[in-house]
Symmetry: D2
Subunit: 338 residues, 4 copies
C-alpha cells in the first residue's frame, strides 16, 4: 500500500500515519517528494488489515493498493492453467467447449429438439434455464423442478452434460440432483452468500461476470468460491453495461486475454447476452475464440420468434450449425480444436 499525504502534512501527521500503519503489521517507508510525502507500506496487503480507512484522516490524500487482491485465482498459483472436467468434457484445454441450448426450458419437445440439434452440430454441453431471473415479476419465471427434469432427460438423450442456473441458496440440493454444471448469473455476481455456499459443493460452477463488475472484482468474487474449497470455477464474460443502447450489453472481449493473463481459470464467452442480437452472435463467437476464449455459451431455440424469453438473441438450430462450421477454421487458426 502507498499512502499519499496531503501537500502540507506536518512531520507529526506523517508520524501518525507511520504509527497507524505499523499497528496493522506493515513496515513503513517514508519517502519525501518535491511536493508530497508518501508512506510506502510493506506487508500482507491482501489479508484482513486494509489501510483504506486512513483516507478518513484529514492529512491523508489517498491510499493506493499495490497488489491485486485475488490470491487463489491468480495465474501464479497454476501457471499452466486449470482444466476443469465435466463428465468427459474438458474446459480449459486445447479443445474448445461449446455449450448451447435454449434460454429457458419451455417444454419436453422444445428442449429435446434443441439438444439433439446442437449435439449434431458439435456442441459439447446443453444449457437451459429452469429458474429465470426476469426483470419483471410478471414475466415467465421458468418451469422450476419440472424444467430441471426435462433438461436432464434431454441431455441424457443427446449424450450431453447439462448446465443450468442456480439463483436461490435454498435450491442448491435440488439443482445438484439434475445439473452437471451450476451457473451463477450476472445479477448474482456479487451475491456472496450464494457464492460461499457454492464453494462447498464439488460440481463445477459456470460463473458469469456481473453487468458492472470490474475484472478484478470478478476474480475476487470467484475467490469466494475457491476459498471455500471448490476449485472448479469457469469464468464467463457476458457483456457489461455501458452507455451504448444499440446492443443489449457491450461484450468486453478485452476481458478474455486479460483474465487469461491474470488467472489460471478457464474463460468462456456468452455472445448471446453479450450482444442481445442474433445476427451478431456468429461474428462475436469467432472473435471470442480468436481472442483466446476456452469456449462459448450460446442460446439456441427451435423457434426464437415464439420463445418465452430472450427471443431476439437466440439462434435457430440451422444458424447454430452454420456458426459451428464457421468457427472451425478460426479455432484452428489460433491453435485450438472444436
Amino acid at each position: 500500500m502507498i499512502v499519499v499525504m496531503k501537500a502540507h502534512a506536518t512531520e507529526d501527521e506523517i508520524q501518525t500515519v507511520v504509527r497507524m500503519v505499523e499497528e496493522q503489521d506493515y513496515r513503513a517507508h517514508v519517502i519525501r517528494g518535491v511536493e508530497r510525502t508518501v508512506v510506502a507500506c510493506v506487508g500482507e496487503e491482501r489479508g484482513e488489515h486494509e489501510l483504506g480507512h486512513l483516507e478518513s484522516l484529514a492529512f491523508v490524500d489517498r491510499v493506493m493498493p499495490v497488489l491485486r487482491t485475488f490470491k487463489l485465482a491468480a495465474r501464479e498459483v497454476r501457471p499452466e492453467g486449470s482444466r476443469i472436467a465435466v463428465d468427459g468434457v474438458e474446459v480449459g484445454g486445447k479443445r474448445l467447449a461449446v455449450i448451447a441450448g435454449p434460454c429457458a426450458v419451455e417444454s419436453r419437445e422444445q428442449v429435446e429438439e434443441t439438444a439433439l440439434a446442437v449435439k449434431r452440430a458439435g456442441a459439447h454441453m446443453l444449457r437451459g434455464g429452469a429458474f429465470k431471473p426476469r426483470t419483471s415479476p410478471y414475466a415467465f419465471q421458468g418451469m422450476e423442478e419440472e424444467g430441471l427434469r426435462l433438461l436432464k432427460d434431454a441431455g441424457r438423450k443427446a449424450g450431453l452434460p447439462v448446465v443450468t442456473e442456480i439463483m436461490d441458496p435454498h435450491d442448491i440440493d435440488l439443482v445438484m440432483e439434475y445439473a452437471d454444471v451450476l451457473q451463477v448469473g450476472a445479477r448474482n455476481a456479487q451475491n456472496f452468500s450464494l457464492l460461499r455456499r457454492l464453494g462447498k459443493v464439488r460440481k463445477p460452477i459456470l460463473f458469469k461476470r456481473g453487468m458492472s463488475t470490474k475484472i478484478e472484482e470478478f476474480l475476487m468474487a470467484a475467490e469466494y468460491i475457491l476459498s471455500e474449497g471448490n476449485p472448479n470455477v469457469i469464468l464467463c464474460e457476458r457483456g457489461i453495461r455501458t452507455f451504448e443502447t444499440a446492443t443489449r450489453n457491450t461484450l468486453d472481449l478485452n476481458a478474455v486475454p486479460l483474465l487469461k493473463e491474470w488467472s489460471h481459470l478457464p474463460v468462456i464467452v456468452d455472445p448471446s447476452h453479450g450482444t442481445g442480437i442474433w445476427s451478431l452472435v456468429t461474428p462475436m463467437s469467432l472473435a471470442a475464440v480468436a481472442a483466446g476464449a476456452d469456449g462459448l455459451l450460446i442460446e439456441v431455440h427451435p423457434n426464437p420468434a415464439q420463445a418465452r424469453s430472450d427471443g431476439p438473441q437466440q439462434l435457430k438450430p440451422e444458424r447454430f450449425a452454420q456458426l459451428m462450421a464457421a468457427l472451425k477454421p478460426v479455432a484452428e487458426a489460433v491453435g485450438r480444436s472444436l
Copy 2:
C-alpha cells in the same frame, strides 16, 4: 408495443407480424410510413405476453415498448404518496427521516457510543451492518448474530429503531428478530429470490438501487417485493457506477425527483456510499434534501480511521452533528422538517 418493420418488408411479412401479435391477445394497427411500416399493438403490455421475441424475425427491425412496466410501484396507484411507519418514525411525510450509524457493528462500545451520539444530533433511526458484503472474502465479514444483538441493544438504549442488511434468504428469520427495517444492499438489487421472500414479511424494506440498475429496473425490482404482499418499501439512491474514479460512486440525484414523479414510494439517499469521501457527505446530504429526498442514510463512526470497513466515507459524531445543523435550514427552505 410498437413493432418497426425493416425497410423492405413485404406485405406477407407484415401480415405474419399482425398474426403473431394477435395470437398474443393484442390488437394490431398497421401504419405505413414513408420508408417503414410500423405495427402498433394495443393490449396488456405489462403481463406475461411480451413481444420482444419478434425481434428475432429477420424482417423486424425493432420492438419498442410504450408503457413503463411497473404497476404497483407506479405513482397512479397512490397519487398522494406512501408513508411508511417504522416504530413511531414515518418515512415519506413532511418530516425527513435520518438514519445514521456505523458501516459495521464492531463492538458494544462502538455501536452504543454511535447510537447515543446520533440520537443526540437528531437522527431518527440507527443503522449498522452485521452481515457485510465485502469485495474480498479475506476482509472483515461482520459480527453476524452477535452484531445484530449489539445493534438492537444500542438502539433500545438510544431509543432508536434499527436498520440492518440482509444478504442471505436463510437469515431472514434471524434478522427479523432483531431489526425494525431490513436493508437490501446494492449487490442484491436484482437478487429476485431474496426480494420475493422479503415480499412475504411485513417489516419495511430499505431497498438500495444497484450499481448499474436503471431507474425503471429499480422500480421493477421493488415490484417483486410489492407483488408478494409487502407494501412497505423505502427506495434508496446510493450512487451508480460510471467512468468517474474520483468518487467511489456517482450519486445520481436526478433519480430523486424522477422516482418521486414515477412512484408513490418514499425515496431516501445514501451520500456515504454515493460519494465514498467523507468531506462530500454534508454537501450531498443538503443537495439530496433540496432535490426532494424523504430522508438520508449516513455512516457515522466514533473513529473512522480505525473502522474495519468503509473508513474513508464515515463521519465522526461531531461532523454528523454539524451536518444536522446545516441540514435544518435547507429542509425548511423546501418545506420539510427534521
Copy 3:
C-alpha cells in the same frame, strides 16, 4: 510516481528501472515488499517526463502517479477561490450567478421576450446559442452571426451580459465582438486546439465538462486555457453519460463539492442538459446550490413546444420565475444570496 515490478522481477530488471527513472531526472527509492518490489520515484511528476511508458517493459506491472496533474487550476494556487467579473456580475462570490435564456436564438421576438422575462425573474446573464452543435447535420444549426446580433441586442435591452457558444476557432473574432462570456460546449471539452486559442483571449470562458470527462481530466483541460494566460475560467457541470436512459444525462453533483475542494475556479451547474426533462430542472437547481454551486445555467423559452432544439428541457418564463422564488430560501440556507 510508483513503479510496481512484476512478481518475479530480477535484481537486474529492478536496476534497469532505476536507471531509466533516473535518466528522466527522478530519484529512485527501491522498496522490497513481501511479494513485489516497488520503485518510488521522486521528481517533477507533472512536467514533460512521464514514466507511463515503463509499463511497456515486460517486468513492470504498473506505473501509478502520485500527484494529480493540474497545477494552475489547483486550489492551493488561490485558496480563497477565484471570482470572475463579467460586466458587473461576479461569479464565484457569495452571490449566485444565474444565467438563463433559450437553447438557440430563433428570432428577435423570441430572444427579447425571454431576455426581459428572465431579467424580471432575477437572472444575471442571458444565454442563447447562435452556433448549435447538433447530433444531426440535418437539424437546425443556429442563426450564426444574425443570432449573435439578436442576442446582444436583447441583452442590451434587458441589461444583461450575454453568453454564447463558440465551436470553431475561425469564429473567435466574430463571437468576441458580440459576447461577454464565451461558452465551450461538452463536445469540445477536449478540443485542445480551441482551448489553447481561448487561452489567448481575455474574456471569461464558461467551460462545460464533457460527457465522459473525468473530473481530473476536466481540470487538465481547463489548464490548457489557464496556461495560455486567460485566468477567467468558469467550470460547468452539465451531466455525464452513463447507462441510465431515463434522463438525457446523469447530472453529477458530486463534482460540485469535489471541484470546489480541488480547484479555485468557480463552478456552475446546468440542470437543463443535466436532466433533459423540464420537470426535473427546478429540484436539481435547488440541489446544485445546496451542494455548493456558484451559479446555474438554465434554458428558458417562451414556447418550448415550438422550440427548434432541446424543447423537452426548456422552462417557460413563468416556471423559471417559480424556480427563482424557490431558490431564494435554499440559497440563504447555505449562506448565499441571489
Copy 4:
C-alpha cells in the same frame, strides 16, 4: 415518430398533439390503447422537423423516433459496401488494410526505422502523429510541421501511404500537403465544425469513434462529412469509456458487425488505444478481424519504453511481425487476405 400521451390525457390534449404534428408536415394516426393513447406520425422523420419538443407538453409522456437518423451512411445506400482507395491500397475489400506506426513522430530515425519494419512485416500504410491531443498541456504535443515532413519522407522511403491526425481546422491545408489519409481522433468525434470542413476535402478521412459516442451518433457524425461531399470515410472503433479500469478503454467489437450491418462504410479497429496494454494488442487484433473488421490501426515503436507518449500500448517491431504472422490464418479463416 411515436408520441405517447400521459395516462389521463384528454381528447383536447390529444387533438392538440395531432394539430401540432400536422403543422410539421406529418400525418397523425391516433391509436387508443388500454391505458394510453399514442399518436403515430408518418412523415420525413430525419429532416429538420423533429418532434422531440412535444415532450415539453405536460400531457405528453414521451416521443420515440422510429427511424435511425443517418441517411448517406446507411447500408441501403450502397448494399455492396464502400471501398475506399488510398494510393493503391483499398480499404473495405477482401484484403485487409493494416496501418501501423508510432503514436507520435519523434525523430527521423524513429519514424524511418518503424516505417521500414512495418512495411517488411506486411503493413499497408504508415501512421504517426505530428499534432498530439494530450490530456495535459505540459506533455509532449507533437513535432507539428517538422513531424509531418518526417512522416511523409519515411512513408515514401518505405513505399507506404501515410495517415496522420488533424486537430485544428486551421491546419487542414498544411496536413493535406503531407498526408494521404486525415485522421480525426476520438476527442474530436463530435467537433462538427472540423467534420464539416473535412467534408469539403477529397482525401479519405479515418474517423475514430468518440469515447462516449453511441454507434448511431457515430454514424450521424460521419454524416456531417458525407453530407458536405466527401464520401471517403473510414470508420474506426478504438474503445469506449466504461467503468472498467483494468484496460485503458473497452474495445467494443460488437460495433464492428453492427456498423457493417447498418452502414456501407469500411470499419477498422484500433486495438492499441482500445486496450492500452501491449500484451492484449495481438489477441484483440485477431478478434477484430474475426468479427469482420476491414483493417487494423496498430501502434509500433522501435523502443516503447522510451516513447514520448502511449508507451504501454506500443508494440516493438518484432512483436508486430509476430502479430502479422498470427493474423494471416485468422484472416483466411474468415475469407479475407492480408
